[in-house]
């Protein structure tokens, strides 16, 4: 049996309290008393740090338990109870959520520290940190929720916060539109999640709707319902984790401040979808078709995003598409039932993607909010710390051994190969090469060669240590996180996989060493080819290319946004306009209008009695009183 520990609820509570406190201070005092930025910054870091300490405590407590009963739970209170549905505000920490907890709080904390420097001088400094704390708190609710409903609270919370933070620079309309887009696209996914939950409840919810009861009763689910649950939940995941067809919001989400991008891409938000699929692995593992769909959607997203990533000229957009692409890998991993590999990629990705984003933020900060890579160049000399750390992040992202990204990506590709998903494996290897290409294209253009904009180059400077220290910590993570799950072929013991095993329903295929070496060999070769092409094209500095033909098509992201606009947004607007201009005034409003007309008529009829002379009112009064007296005297008899 698991233990009940009451500090579990505190983990999300600390950042949420921080959000409330900072928010109130900002709203009520920002005009009267000027709190220093340091004050807000330190206040904002307290919550994440405390959460991280508690996460470590959870980890130690779990480690002390025997593997098969490794979970801690805490029921704060009964949230609601309707018919068979009893929902507790309960928290559950098992190895899976514990792993998520550790890196979410660690990376969240580092990003908060970094933001102290990056957001310096912003007039909405307090508001920013309130949102950031809320974001982290929501993510922790999502991770720790012990039932799909509590998870959904966090799920919606991160959606809200992403909206608030993406449109943080709200003076600019395009930022607000980007925020709207993220929110609306996420809503579409959320509908899938809600429907999935409804199906799940309909299927097996009557005997308990928390994860442990669901897992125990999953055998009672009919295959058709299980498939529906899996697919609908996956729709939710495509929204939150930016997969085809709902990936379009993530690149636009770059409108927010860079630490927000880092938080969205690394620690919170986009990893939620993968986490959710892994959390529901007990259902996904029973429906092979759903797993295949997840895997194929994932790997195709990886391919598509990699193509887009090769032709972007905004440093943050390159990184955004790389995230979409890596998320595709993760889904391919969980799709082929290698849940631990998918989660492990989430884990390593969090380090190197946070690192790359914060590094990009450092570059952007140094160049006074210049994001176009064709205005950069030669920054290696000016920003050595940023350059070195970003280089580590790039190697990890591109999957170069022995950086962390290599091990996790290789694990996914190997799992695809071992389970016989050869198509997924081949696309995955191709995408690995493309990843190496676009990552190093970005690195070479930004840091190598000669400056393209001499004036900006002259003003560039290394960022303050409040920004570079988090970078260095993350770089260490990006370098060494992979060794935590070192496969047996390198003499490791796959610690993460074994750690996660009690939470996940996966069966490790027993495959030959030949396949393992084949997987490693091909992905290293793909990496080498990708970086070779990137170096030959951009290594010595290159002029801004003209995008023609296919490149132009890819630069405009295959016009997917325009397509969605034409086939979804426009018809919706047309329907809305029909309802607004035709249906509403003529159909739905008519009973209301008729009612008001009726009262007008009645009013006109009664108007004649209102003559305005006081004598006449006296007559009415006397008549009324007389009638009352008459009635009274009648009833007395």
């Amino acid at each position: 049996m698991g233990q009940s520990v009451n500090y579990l609820g505190l983990i999300p509570l600390f950042p949420l309290l921080g959000a409330v406190l900072i928010g109130l201070l900002h709203v009520f005092f920002s005009t009267k008393v000027k709190f220093s930025e340091k004050f807000y910054g330190i206040l904002a870091c307290v919550g994440p740090v405390l959460s991280f300490i508690l996460a470590l405590k959870v980890f130690i407590a779990l480690k002390a338990l025997p593997p098969e009963s490794r979970y801690l739970s805490h029921k704060a209170f009964t949230w609601f109870s309707v018919g068979d549905l009893h929902i507790d505000m309960g928290f559950l920490a098992d190895p899976l959520s514990c792993l998520m907890l550790l890196f979410v709080t660690l990376i969240g904390t580092l990003i908060h520290v970094y933001s102290i420097g990056y957001m310096g001088g912003d007039k909405n400094y307090g508001k920013f940190f309130a949102y950031m704390n809320l974001f982290l708190g929501s993510m922790l609710v999502l991770v720790l929720g012990d039932s799909p409903v509590v998870m959904f609270v966090g799920w919606e919370g991160v959606g809200l916060c992403s909206y608030l933070l993406i449109s943080f620079y709200s003076e600019d309309t395009s930022n607000v539109l980007a925020g709207n887009k993220a929110f609306i696209v996420n809503r579409i996914g959320d509908l899938g999640f809600v429907l999935g939950m409804a199906f799940l409840f309909w299927g097996i919810g009557a005997s308990g709707f928390d994860f442990l009861s669901l897992k125990a009763n999953v055998g009672n689910l009919t295959p058709a319902v299980a498939l529906a649950v899996c697919l609908l939940l996956f729709v939710g995941a495509t929204g939150k984790s930016a997969q085809i067809p709902l990936y379009v919001w993530l690149p636009d989400a770059m409108a927010g401040p860079t630490p927000v991008s880092a938080l969205i891409h690394a620690a919170t938000m986009v990893t939620a979808g993968v986490y959710m699929v892994a959390r529901f692995s007990f259902i996904y593992s029973t429906v092979e078709l759903a797993g295949n769909i997840v895997a194929w959607v994932g790997i195709l997203t990886a391919l598509l995003a990699a193509i887009f990533g090769m032709f972007q000229d905004d440093i943050k957009k390159v990184l955004a598409y790389s995230t979409v692409s890596q998320l595709g890998y993760m889904f391919a991993g969980v799709g082929v039932a290698a849940y631990s590999a998918g989660i492990f990629h989430v884990f390593t990705h969090a380090f190197f993607k946070a690192l790359l984003f914060l590094g990009a933020g450092s570059v952007i900060y140094a160049l006074h909010h210049q994001q176009n890579i064709w205005k950069m160049g030669g920054l290696k000399a000016k920003m050595p710390k940023t350059y070195l750390t970003m280089m580590i992040g790039a190697f990890a992202l591109a999957g170069c051994p022995p950086f962390s990204g290599f091990f996790s990506k290789d694990e996914i590709l190997y799992s695809a190969l071992a389970t016989g998903h050869y198509g997924i494996w081949m696309v995955g290897v191709l995408v690995a090469g493309m990843t190496a290409y676009y990552t190093f294209r970005m690195i070479f253009v930004v840091f190598h060669g000669t400056p393209r904009d001499q004036e900006a180059f002259d003003h560039a400077h290394e960022s303050p240590s409040v920004m570079t220290v988090p970078l260095i910590i993350l770089a260490v993570g990006a370098l060494f996180a992979g060794f935590l799950n070192l496969p047996a072929i390198f003499g490791g013991s796959q610690m993460v996989t074994h750690w996660l095993a009690p939470s996940l329903s996966e069966h490790h295929p027993h495959a030959s060493h030949f396949l393992e070496i084949l997987a490693i060999g091909t992905s290293v070769a793909a990496f080498a080819i990708g970086i070779k092409i990137a170096y030959s094209k951009f290594g010595q500095g290159a002029p801004e290319p003209e995008f023609k033909g296919f490149a132009e098509f890819a630069y405009h992201k295959f016009y997917v946004d325009e397509l969605y606009h034409a086939i979804i947004v426009q018809p919706y607007k047309a329907i809305g306009s029909i309802i607004w201009k035709t249906l509403e005034p003529n159909v739905t409003d008519s009973p209301v209008k008729a009612a008001s007309k009726l009262y007008m008529v009645i009013g006109t009829a009664f108007k004649v009695f209102q003559v305005g002379y006081v004598r006449i009112y006296a007559i009415y009064m006397i008549l009324g009183l007389s009638l009352m007296s008459l009635f009274l005297s009648q009833s007395l008899n």
Partner: protein, 98 residues
């Protein structure tokens, strides 16, 4: 014997009603209302006598107090009305006409 007082009270009350309904001068209307109040007083006192109790007297005293207060208020209103239109004809004041 005592019933005659009640008949007198009814007659006075009806006179008051007729006055309120038919007269147009604000003062006359006001005086008619006072007449009705006094008719009611008379009835109270007469009933008090019939039932051999003091309740009616108490009520009559209260009606007098109310009438005094009402007179003070009503006269003030009359003055304001006169200031407003320089007339005391009730037909002039017909703002409530629908």
């Amino acid at each position: 014997m005592i019933h005659n007082y009640l008949f007198l009270s009814i007659i006075l009350f009806c006179l008051g009603i007729v006055g309120v309904i038919s007269r147009r001068n604000v003062f006359t209307v006001f005086m008619s209302i006072e007449l009705m109040l006094n008719a009611a007083n008379l009835a109270f006192v007469a009933f008090s006598r019939i039932h051999q109790s003091m309740d009616g007297h108490v009520l009559a005293m209260m009606v007098m107090a109310v009438a005094a207060a009402e007179a003070a208020l009503a006269l003030a209103v009359v003055i304001l009305l006169h200031k407003h239109k320089s007339k005391l004809d009730t037909n002039v004041f017909s703002l409530l006409k629908g």
